[in-house]
């Protein structure tokens, strides 16, 4: 047999809203005006929270914080496509997903202020705790999907992670297993171009991240991550496919981390101000405002009102965070296991006694 090509592949990219805010109507998902307004309000809420978190960190009122600025559309757009019965397996830079699904802002503040109780997901939400160890949560999403399939439950499981996570073994092992068992899982990568100081090309020699899915036997698409409609549509298609037994999908969302990696980082050490400025131009909120304004859904007055409402919500969350009683030392023993061992009992009640009341 002569040498011949036995496999080729194509990677599709999706954008609905261009940078000037013009939408490709043929691709627009069915969204009411109220839906669009709600997306806008969630984007603004996420940004308002983010800006406040940075300010609080500088004042020493919360700890290290990873800003989401510039990535809000990936988070809000994808989460808007989820049902309450779906499951979310986040990493640590998806606060917009949390807020879209109704995670209380004050809880999130408490977590970043160094209080574990901030990660107690409300009972109506299927969101796993924030995962700090990059990429290691990806197999959990695969396992949840496996269990849902076993139970014949029509749910989709969504894992979020960054471009850096695609270099971890757990990413590859998780993807492979999702492909082998054709599981109802959707992998969403916020490709924000950087993993701390490492640019995407230091992370992979692949032309796209999306194409990595192909090697594992399922679809990978690339979407403009600063286009809330494209992200929403790609996610909606993928979760519907998952819920109806069509198997996994990988969605690579092209976006940009406009701020520092975290409040401990100084991004000016490794990237140019020109690059950052160019991406600021592609701001997802600005883009949606332009679109809405073209449809008569946005004007300065409405924009200001949305901002005021978001600011009020954030103010209240800060108040709630700061008026929450600090954890008792005994708290650290509470959730290690269902029951304490003999030595832990002693450590808790003799070595770390509760404060006298």
């Amino acid at each position: 047999m002569p040498e011949e090509t036995i496999a080729t592949f194509t990677v599709r990219s999706l954008r609905i809203l261009d940078e000037r805010g013009k939408a490709d109507e043929a691709l627009m998902p069915p969204l009411s005006e109220a839906d669009i307004r709600q997306m806008y309000e969630l984007l603004v809420l996420t940004r308002t929270y983010d800006e406040r978190a940075l300010a609080l960190q500088r004042e020493g009122r919360i700890g290290t914080y990873p800003p989401v600025k510039g990535q809000e559309a990936v988070q809000v757009g994808s989460a808007c496509a989820l049902f309450p019965t779906d499951w979310v397996v986040p990493s640590f830079r998806e606060m917009g997903v949390h807020f879209t699904l109704g995670y209380p802002l004050d809880l999130m503040f408490r977590y970043w202020a160094g209080d574990e109780r901030g990660l107690v997901t409300p009972a109506n939400l299927n969101i796993l705790p924030i995962c700090v160890s990059v990429g290691t949560h990806i197999p959990h999403a695969v396992g949840i999907a496996m269990a849902a399939k076993y139970r014949r439950d029509p749910v989709a499981v969504v894992a979020y992670f960054g471009d850096g996570a695609t270099s971890k073994g757990d990413f590859h092992e998780g993807f492979n297993m999702a492909g082998v068992f054709q599981l109802p899982v959707v992998f969403i990568c916020q490709n924000n171009q950087w993993a701390i100081s490492i640019p995407l090309k230091g992370q992979t020699a692949s032309r796209t991240l999306a194409q990595k899915a192909i090697a594992y036997g399922f679809d990978g698409v690339q979407v403009d991550g600063n286009d809330v409609f494209a992200v929403y549509r790609a996610t909606k298609d993928a979760v519907e496919k998952a819920r109806s037994g069509g198997g996994p999908t990988f969605i690579e969302c092209l976006t940009y981390r406009v701020a520092d990696h975290t409040t401990s980082d100084d991004a000016s050490r490794y990237r140019s101000p020109e690059e950052v400025a160019a991406w600021r131009e592609k701001d997802p909120i600005l883009r949606l405002e332009r679109y809405m304004s073209g449809r008569g859904l946005w004007d300065e007055g409405y924009g200001a009102e949305v901002k005021r409402k978001a600011t009020r919500a954030v103010d209240e969350a800060v108040k709630a965070m700061e008026s929450a009683a600090p954890p008792e030392p005994g708290e650290m023993f509470e959730h290690v296991s269902a029951t304490l061992g003999q030595r832990q009992e002693k450590q808790r009640f003799v070595d770390h006694p509760p404060a006298p009341s």
Binding site: G63, T64, F92, Y111, A113, G114, D115, E116, V132, S133, V134, G135, T136, G164, A165, S167, K168, G169, D170, A195, I196, S197, I198, G202, Q203, T204, S264, D265, R269, Y270, P326, P327, P329, E331, M332, F333, V336, G341, R343, Q344, Q347, R348, D351, H352
Partner: protein
């Protein structure tokens, strides 16, 4: 002599070893252009270039695994794991390979590798950024475990670690990175591996502590006739120095920030029980963190042994 903090001392050790020997290469996440998230490798990228300061993808297993390969080929790699809490996915490479290749090949292939990692608590960082699981590594033959407690020893120990023919896990207490400045000579000096240091002489009680706990112990023993021993290398441990001291003082307090159960203190206590029990006037006591996960900022200081808790324990032991 320049006054350096631990970050600068480690940086100087790396720079001098790289100048001296072109087999020394550094690899890890953000170690190059960014100079490391703690700035430990600051300036080295400009001096030695991308070939020797390798900014890797986010792949702990491949960082250590590739470093094993480099070492086998004759280089002297220094791999950085950004925080100790992220070393777990590299365990396979450390335990199944770095630690065993010499043995597996009957010394035909060796792994002169250093794995550096910031470790320890008290810096109010996110989850998994404050681990101290040094005992895991001490359980495995074939790897050395080294923990400096200040700038001077950090430089000398790292030089020894790089020159050591076998894999060395080098754990840098983050809380001390910028806390202490000391005179650190430029140029050659090595602090040997496997040799403890008597930091303070005394005759009534021996206190052994490493890493960031040493700083607290030194405050806690003020006013006591205490001998303080800093092992510097946990594995292989300098038993002779410790046992000689305990036979002299008859009392031993062990302080570590790792969780109590299965911490390296257990190994020390068991060895003293076996080798020196007849010299003891008081029970051997461990001051350690409780058997829970390292809490976040709001509770971490309740978790870590405090100066007061250490002093209280020394006081108790002195009553015997």
């Amino acid at each position: 002599m320049p006054q350096l903090n631990m970050v600068q001392a480690i940086n100087l050790a790396l720079r001098e070893e790289m100048e001296r020997d072109d087999r020394v290469v550094l690899l890890g996440e953000d170690v190059g252009k960014d100079g490391g998230v703690f700035r430990v490798t600051e300036g080295l990228f400009d001096r030695f270039g991308a070939e020797r300061l390798i900014d890797t993808p986010l792949s702990e297993s491949a960082i250590v695994g590739a470093a094993v390969g480099m070492a086998v080929y004759g280089l002297l790699p220094v791999a950085e794991i950004q925080f100790m809490g992220f070393v777990y996915s590299a365990f396979d490479q450390i335990f199944a390979h770095a630690a065993r290749l010499r043995s597996r090949s009957r010394s035909r292939f060796t792994v002169p590798l250093v794995v550096r990692a910031p470790y320890g608590g008290g810096i109010k960082a996110p989850e998994l950024h404050e681990e101290s699981t040094e005992a895991f590594f001490c359980h495995m033959p074939g790897v050395k475990v080294v923990i400096p407690s200040g700038p001077y020893v950090a430089k000398g120990l790292l030089v020894s670690a790089i020159r050591d023919p076998d894999p060395v896990i080098f754990l840098e207490p983050t809380r001390l990175y910028r806390l202490i400045k000391e005179e650190v000579p430029e140029g050659e000096y090595a602090v040997p591996l496997g040799k403890a240091r008597i930091v303070r002489e005394g005759s009534k009680v021996t206190v052994v502590a490493w890493g960031s706990m040493l700083e607290r112990v030194m405050k806690a023993v003020e006013g006591y006739d205490a001998e303080v021993i800093d092992p510097l290398t946990l594995s292989p441990f300098d038993w002779e120095t410790l046992l000689a001291s305990v036979r002299e003082t008859g009392r031993l307090v062990i302080v570590h920030e790792a969780q109590f159960t299965g911490g390296f203190g257990a190994e020390i206590a068991a060895t003293v029980a076996q080798e020196a029990i007849l010299y003891l006037r008081a029970p051997v006591v461990r001051v350690a963190s409780p058997d829970v996960h390292v809490p976040l900022a709001k509770l971490v200081e309740h978790y870590l042994p405090s100066v007061e808790r250490i002093r209280g324990t020394v006081d108790e032991v002195m009553k015997y």
